[in-house]
């Protein structure tokens, strides 16, 4: 005898279990299979059996669909005139909700809070990550970058491509209709009245064509402007045109002064266009033969528009082939680099932004879930209170489907009330967030200005509200619509200790709330402590009492080292004489100002590893009193002095990190270094070792730094640093006039305190910390309310039992202990469950928070203790109420 093949037989078994005639079908199929095997052979019968199994599965699926749709129809459309019935039922629902005003208000408020945080989070996610760029057909744009194997931090596609590789890509690629490149070009802009520092970009001839833009006036940059070296022409942003030139159309064709030289204005950009974020002027990129030979210097950002019919995957595959070819052809420069094609949005937003905002959105969803558990709990309690009404309706003939529908409509009405409240909450949050963003940072966060309540948000939040209200109310509704009619009516609504499954579910909800709150609080704790550390943690220098001013010299006015040195010295001398100034200095880059320069180093007595493989350090040219002014401690040797001049022996001070890296276990003093990639390749002697500093919280914490005396290597970047005995902000006017008195054509880029600079650099993280703080606080409050209401309900349902116990001799203390014990137990189970996802989360968090905060067991301990404490406090009030039950009254009331 033959048996059917095993796998389809299992499938048949599965399907049969779901069909009323399944058992018979199973037997018949086995019998017919045996018959067929005897007649036509095994293969034939096996194939036939497979077919029959598939038919059975299709039958099961078909029955399910029919069943589900008829159930949905029953619940949604009862009565011959569905709309009239619906309106009537909404009225009934509103009346019922009014009958329980406190519960209704609590549900609406909880739902509104949960939805509000989700709305605020989604508005950010949508504006900053999902669609931060309002450019034509932005989904057909891509960012192409050079990805380096050596890079350990997250890949930043901006400023990663060399001109020669870009040129080869453009010539060889067919997947892109056009490829364009641009590079940073910050300029001193004069024309109109005051000189001003504006952000600009040098762009290739294809830039505006790739973005599919038309000029507001005049023309955009084309090949004639770039191919034989950059011509002195400029496209001006709409904002600058309005602000500085009063929107005069005749400005096109005239010239403006940029970095001390005259540039012809050839066009005005369309309104609202400021890409790359914050740009106000666009000049031509140097596409001359000399510039295009540069393959090892990577400073361009490359964007492309996909050719018709090509996908990003096609373009990516093609770029990989081109990358391989270029690696073979130029192994020296391209050995460790490969092209990477990303979507425009993914490539242009700050690395990590999507993860951070994703984390906030997830936190908001968790808050909604925790609040949802409270709503479910309230509805369960109300369902229990209403069971007599419901039983009566069932007894006089209302169908269960009809009751279920009524209860769901009540939830939908609650959601409809909660949505506008939540949007008001979100609107307020967005306003607060927007006002917290410093104006100077604003242009660099694409999409920030567009963050608002719009139709899309309304749609998402309404859908979430409906889904959440149905989800949170479905179980209570099912529970309420299934009372034991006879018993309920016979009891006459007297309370016994609630029904058992309802009680279990309510406890499970509270356990779940605690379990969800733990990972959320862990995330809150970590972001909070990272934000705190960024703003207030030790920086390695003393930012208190310091005001700074940045300006950038240009070749036209300060053509050589002497002119730049003279300018800096004049500035320092003038500043030192200002009232209240304790000391003054200059540096090329300040800590936390977001810019940096590095130099490759050759160490005396060691072989030169060659370009690209040498050790590097952040490079700063500072004046003699820089270390005092910043209160940056010198650990060994001396500071720079007046003797370190252009003509004296070249000297340098290294940070401790650099000393340890180059000469571990030995003193760095007296050692010699060379800067092979600069014009001056004389040996430099180390005369001092300075303490490590947080030069940048995100990328350069306690890293290797090399300081050289400004008079020996003056640059066009001048940052004045003043230490004041009093409030440094009072000096800003005098610093500005000082600059004007030295050179009226020289604009200050900014004048701000060091504390302000630190704040600006880390404001994003502080905002994230604050947002996570709000979410964490809401989670704790909602979980505490959940536990409180459960315990209060528990006590009210058990008054009779407590009365009996007390009549039999239980003390008030015992009653309090039992109630608190129960709360403690529920909270503990939840917390233990929550610790598992919380622990898994820590790894993810560390990555998201730039590895700044290490995960400490103390954090976990504090969160666990805090939650347990809150659980106990939340249960104390109900526990005290329980202990005040008068046995006589409790017994009589039954």
């Amino acid at each position: 005898m033959t048996t059917p093949p095993r796998l389809p037989a299992r499938i048949v078994g599965w399907a049969a279990a779901r069909l009323s005639w399944g058992e018979t079908a199973c037997g018949d199929l086995a019998e017919e299979h045996a018959l067929l095997t005897a007649r036509r052979g095994r293969t034939w019968s096996a194939a036939w059996y497979w077919g029959q199994a598939a038919l059975l599965v299709a039958t099961v699926v078909g029955q399910f669909v029919i069943h589900a749709s008829s159930a949905a129809r029953t619940v949604l459309f009862i009565g011959d005139r569905p709309m009239t019935t619906l309106v009537k039922e909404i009225r009934v629902a509103a009346r019922t909700l009014r009958r329980y005003p406190l519960i209704t208000a609590a549900i609406v408020l909880t739902l509104a809070l949960g939805l509000g945080v989700n709305a605020a989070a989604f508005s950010m996610l949508d504006a900053l990550v999902l669609r931060p760029f309002s450019l034509p057909e932005v989904d057909r744009l891509a960012v192409v970058s050079e990805w380096s194997e050596d890079n350990s931090s997250p890949h930043d596609p901006e400023e990663s491509v060399s001109p020669a590789n870009f040129t080869d890509w453009r010539q060889q690629s067919r997947g892109f209709e056009s490829l364009a490149a641009f590079g940073w070009w910050q300029v001193n802009f004069s024309g109109g009245d005051q000189p001003e520092r504006v952000l600009g970009f040098r762009v290739s001839a294809d830039f505006f064509r790739t973005l599919k833009l038309a000029p507001r006036l005049g023309r955009f940059i084309d090949e004639t402007d770039t191919t034989n070296g950059p011509r002195k022409v400029v496209v001006i942003g709409f904002g600058v045109w309005q602000r500085r030139f009063a929107a005069r159309p005749d400005i096109v064709g005239q010239n403006v002064k940029i970095d001390g030289e005259f540039y012809d204005v050839i066009g005005i950009a369309p309104e609202g266009f400021d890409f790359p974020s914050g740009s106000a002027v666009w000049g031509p990129l140097d596409a001359g033969p000399e510039a295009l030979r540069e393959r090892n210097n990577r400073y361009l950002t490359v964007i492309g528009r996909l050719a018709d019919g090509r996908s990003r995957a096609d373009a990516s595959a093609e770029m990989n082939v081109i990358g391989d070819r270029l690696r073979r052809e130029h192994p020296q420069d391209n050995e460790r680099h490969s092209p990477l094609v990303q979507s425009f949005t993914a490539g242009m937003i700050d690395p990590g932004m999507d993860q951070i905002l994703g984390m906030i959105q997830l936190g908001a969803i968790l808050v909604l879930v925790i609040g949802g558990a409270n709503i479910a709990n309230l509805l369960l309690a109300r369902g229990w209170d209403r069971r007599r009404e419901i039983a009566l309706r069932l007894a006089i003939g209302a169908g269960r489907a009809r009751l279920l529908r009524q209860l769901l409509i009540e939830s939908a009405v609650l959601a409809a009330i909660a949505v506008p409240v939540s949007l008001a909450f979100a609107w307020g949050s967005i306003r607060i967030l927007k006002s917290a963003m410093p104006a100077r940072i604003l242009p660099f966060v694409p999409g920030w200005a567009d963050m608002d309540i719009d139709g899309r948000l309304l749609l998402v939040i309404s859908a979430t509200a409906l889904l959440a209200s149905v989800l949170f109310s479905i179980f209570p509704a099912l529970q309420a619509s299934r009372p034991n009619v006879v018993n309920t009516l016979r009891e006459g609504g007297r309370s016994v200790a609630g029904n058992r499954s309802g009680r279990v579910v309510r406890s499970a909800l509270v356990v779940g709330q605690m379990a969800v709150a733990v990972p959320l609080l862990v995330a809150t704790g970590f972001t909070g402590s990272a934000a705190r550390q960024f703003a207030l943690g030790p920086q390695g220098y003393d930012p208190e009492g310091i005001i700074t001013m940045r300006t950038v010299l240009v070749d036209a006015t300060h053509p050589d080292a002497d002119a730049r040195r003279r300018f800096a010295e004049q500035l320092i001398d003038g500043a030192a004489r200002l009232p209240g100034v304790e000391s003054a200095a200059t540096t090329t880059f300040l800590p936390s100002d977001g810019s940096n320069a590095t130099r490759e180093l050759v160490v005396d007595g060691r072989p030169d590893a060659g370009q690209g493989r040498r050790p590097t350090a952040a490079y700063r040219a500072v004046s003699s009193r820089y270390f005092d002014t910043m209160r940056l401690p010198l650990l060994e040797g001396r500071a720079f002095g007046t003797g370190d001049t252009a003509d004296s022996m070249p000297v340098a001070i290294v940070s401790q990190a650099l000393a340890n890296r180059l000469w571990p276990g030995e003193s760095a003093l007296g050692r010699r270094l060379q800067l092979p990639t600069t014009d001056d390749t004389r040996w430099i002697t180390i005369v001092g070792v300075a303490g490590n500093i947080i030069d940048d919280w995100f990328s350069r914490r306690n890293g290797p730094m090399l300081y050289v005396p400004m008079p020996q290597r003056p640059t066009y970047l001048v940052n004045l640093v003043l230490r004041s005995g009093g409030d440094p902000t009072t000096l800003s006017g005098e610093v500005r006039s000082l600059l004007t008195s030295i050179d009226p054509s020289q604009p200050p880029i900014y004048i701000m305190t060091m504390k302000g600079m630190l704040h600006e650099r880390t404001v994003g993280l502080q905002m994230i910390g604050a947002m996570m703080g709000v979410l964490g606080a809401l989670a704790v409050v909602l979980a505490a309310i959940g536990l409180y209401s459960l315990m209060a309900y528990h006590v009210s349902q058990r008054r009779h039992e407590i009365g009996v116990r007390m009549a039999l001799g239980a003390s008030q203390g015992t009653v309090v202990r039992q109630t608190v014990w129960r709360a403690w137990w529920l909270a503990s189970v939840g917390i233990v469950i929550g610790l598992v996802p919380a622990y898994l989360l820590t790894g993810v968090l560390r990555g998201i928070l730039f590895n700044v905060v290490s995960i400490q067991p103390g954090h976990f301990g504090a969160i666990v203790l805090g939650l347990v404490g809150i659980a106990i406090v939340a249960s104390l009030i109900p526990a005290r109420q329980a202990s005040k039950v008068d046995p006589a009254v409790a017994l009589r009331s039954e």
Partner: protein, 111 residues
Amino acid sequence: MTDGPAYIGELEQLVLLAILQCGDDAYTVSIRHVLADRSHRRLARGALYTSLERLEAKRLVSSRLGEPLAVRGGRARRYFTVTADGLEALRKARQAVDNLSRGLEGLLEKP
């Protein structure tokens, strides 16, 4: 049913007739074979089973389980018998067809 046997549809008539044709050996597989052979209709498995369930619910057929069989993986066959009500329903249905066909022999007979 208060007023005699229930009204039965065409499929139910065919199933009842097939059961009668099978005699003592009327169980799902044989009924399906007879239906396929004599009425040239390949009835979906589910359709046959649900008709049988419906006929049993209307008490037009009754069923009993046979012995468990190895060839059916240890499951028993369910044997069906047409009840007196079932026979009556068949007669009525046939009567109705006959009554309605009277005078139309010219049209309905094979040419």
